[in-house]
């Protein structure tokens, strides 16, 4: 192999490729400094808010330094990196603040009494959220009983039967649109529906379940659909080739294979509706007593309890407000636990070796 190319001398080429760059330790050091500034702000009277603003300016030194050393293009790139990363930190602030506020204000309310008493005949201190917990669990459970079969079978229709038919694609589209129904509208729908049967001013736990189902069904459909889609077609074919009818193939091959994903999706859907307030405010109402009957009158729930105890604390206000934060904390813990369970299920129970 002889080459006729005239090569530039190595040194020339090297000079061409080499550019002036920030030392690798440079940005890291500045970012550590910025983090330190924020921590100092938190620990001293300066305050976290001012500390963070200062840290932002400290971190902005990276692009400035880069402009001097590396030139305009690289500096622009670093400005954008700076902005994008600060967007993320900015998004973290409310999350941390919410957790701090809820845990800080709510944990003092937690006690055995808080979980085992209702608010019946309680004025001032004492009482608890037992009635709210019962109501939330019953209403959400009933909503799941309505939503899961409808959602799952719809997903089965979309994937296994509808395929790309006209009906299937329009249902898919409307399910997407249904995801956007405001929760309060779902509550009004349940009210308008129940008024037909029970007359004006109806309040009923099961109405809350119907309203939550309107919000939950589209979520269940979408997540189950995604999971069924992931089941390889080869498994369906293997089952058909063994002389298994389609419905048994779906029930015994497709659904078990997708089970972990479906359970995850349903758990996340429950987590989403268990914290809904607005529809329950309208159709389930509020009460101070425990009610175990979904079909008989008002039912208290945790979110509605939080809302009313905070908005109408009565006199004296402090105990009510403390209970409100306590209920918010319990609600938040339930939702977080559901999210954790969902992640664990999908992590540990997915079939091994799936392709």
């Amino acid at each position: 192999m002889t080459t006729t190319l005239t090569r530039p001398a190595p040194s020339e080429l090297g000079a061409d490729l080499r550019g002036r760059r920030l030392p690798t330790w440079g940005p890291t050091t500045v970012w550590s400094l910025a983090a330190a500034t924020a921590v100092v702000g938190l620990l001293t009277p300066v305050g976290l808010a001012r500390g963070l603003v200062l840290a932002w300016f400290v971190a902005a030194l990276v692009p400035a330094w880069s402009f001097v050393v590396e030139g305009r293009r690289k500096a622009t790139d670093r400005v954008v990196t700076h902005l994008v990363a600060s967007a993320f930190v900015l998004a973290l602030i409310p999350l941390v603040s919410i957790l701090v506020a809820v845990v800080g204000k709510g944990s003092s309310a937690l006690s055995a009494e808080f979980f085992s008493y209702s608010m019946r005949n309680v004025v001032g201190e004492g009482g608890g959220i037992y009635h709210g917990i019962i109501g939330t669990l019953l209403i959400t459970a009933a909503a799941s009983v309505i939503s899961v079969p409808i959602g799952l079978f719809t997903a089965i229709y979309l994937i296994e039967y509808g395929d790309d038919s006209r009906l299937a694609s329009s249902i898919r589209f409307l399910v997407d649109v249904m995801t956007g129904i405001p929760s309060i509208v779902a509550g009004l729908f349940a009210y308008a529906l129940f008024v037909l049967f029970f007359g004006e001013g109806v309040r009923m736990g099961v109405g809350g379940s119907v309203a939550l189902s309107v919000l939950m069904i589209p979520v269940v459909v979408r997540s189950c659909e995604e999971m069924l889609k992931l089941v390889p077609n080869e498994l369906r074919e293997a089952s058909y080739a063994l002389g298994v009818p389609k419905w048994r193939t779906i029930a015994k091959v497709v659904l078990p294979t997708a089970l972990a994903g479906i359970v995850t999706g349903i758990t996340l859907a429950i987590a989403r509706v268990i914290g809904e307030t607005a529809p329950l405010l309208i159709i389930a109402g509020m009460t101070d007593s425990v009610n175990f009957n979904l079909f008989d009158g008002r039912m208290q729930t945790l979110p509605v309890f939080t809302y009313s105890a905070l908005m109408n604390p009565g006199v004296p206000a402090e105990p009510s407000i403390e209970r409100a934060w306590g209920a918010a904390l319990v609600l938040l813990l339930i939702v977080m636990a559901l999210n954790l369970v969902a992640r664990l299920v999908s992590h540990f129970f997915s079939p091994q070796g799936e392709r």
Partner: protein, 259 residues
């Protein structure tokens, strides 16, 4: 138990699209018939029409006759589900059920149809099927491990065991070795030799040497032209097809001049 298959004037459609045209072929019992031909020539489609698997695709249908032991698979009163119990299939990529153990995979045909079996009877079926598939010695110690824990070649033999556990009369194989390494391939080819004593075997393959090694008779499929349906060009004993085929297209394909 093995049956021969007589196909007359078979046309296969997807909706309005004619995929395979005018196939006439007789597939003898207790022998291996190989289908060869370039990609997209309809050999897999034709294979799948032999146990009505192609109907899984919406809008697929056929006209013509497929007679197994004198019975037309496409007669009005025939149930495709029952047809598939008699005519088993092994696919291109091994596809054991990921939620089932090795033993459950073998019994899948019975289990999925909720057929009641005594424990001893089920154990028998598992052992017999795995022995026939040449897998028993390798897996007898770990029958309750997931089927996906096996190697690719073992998985494919597990799929063969699963297919023969329902006691079919015909075994269709759709490029069963194309996803396997050469060693696993040769194990499966030996297995096909064994199995042809009991079953009618039809195999689609892209590998000409494989067709020459395993089959007794070979059918060459080709497209009539771009956008035209696939058709059966030539059928004959394997030695003759490879030594001196009648059709120039067959000769060109076998010598590797196209496809």
């Amino acid at each position: 138990m093995a049956k021969s298959i007589d196909v007359t004037d078979l046309n296969i459609y997807y909706g309005d699209f004619l995929a395979v045209q005018d196939v006439n072929i007789t597939i003898p019992a207790r022998a291996v018939t190989a289908f060869i031909g370039p990609s997209g020539c309809g050999k897999s489609t034709f294979l799948r029409s032999l146990n009505r698997m192609h109907e899984v695709i919406r809008g697929a249908y056929v006209d013509g006759k497929v007679l197994v032991d004198g019975e037309d698979l496409y007669a009005q009163e025939m149930d495709p589900v029952n047809v598939r119990r008699k005519i088993g299939m092994v696919f291109q990529r091994p596809n054991p059920f990921p939620t089932m153990s090795i033993a459950e995979n073998v019994l899948a045909g019975q289990r999925l149809n909720s057929k009641r079996m005594k424990k001893s009877e089920a154990d028998d079926v598992v052992e017999q099927s795995l022995r026939r598939a040449g897998l028993w010695a390798e897996v007898k110690e770990r029958l309750d491990r997931p089927g996906s824990s096996l190697s690719g070649g073992q998985q494919q033999r597990l799929c063969i065991a699963r297919a023969i556990a329902v006691e079919p009369e015909v075994l269709l194989m759709d490029e069963p070795c194309s996803a396997l390494d050469p060693i696993s391939t040769s194990v499966i080819e030996d297995l096909i030799h064994e199995l042809k004593n009991d079953y009618t075997i039809v195999i689609v393959t892209h590998n000409m040497q494989q067709a020459a090694r395993v089959s007794d008779q070979t059918a060459f499929f080709n497209l009539a032209g771009v956008g035209q349906p696939g058709r059966l060009v030539e059928l004959g004993p394997t030695e003759k097809m490879f030594a001196n085929p009648d059709d120039p297209a067959t000769e060109a394909y076998i010598q590797g001049r196209f496809g």
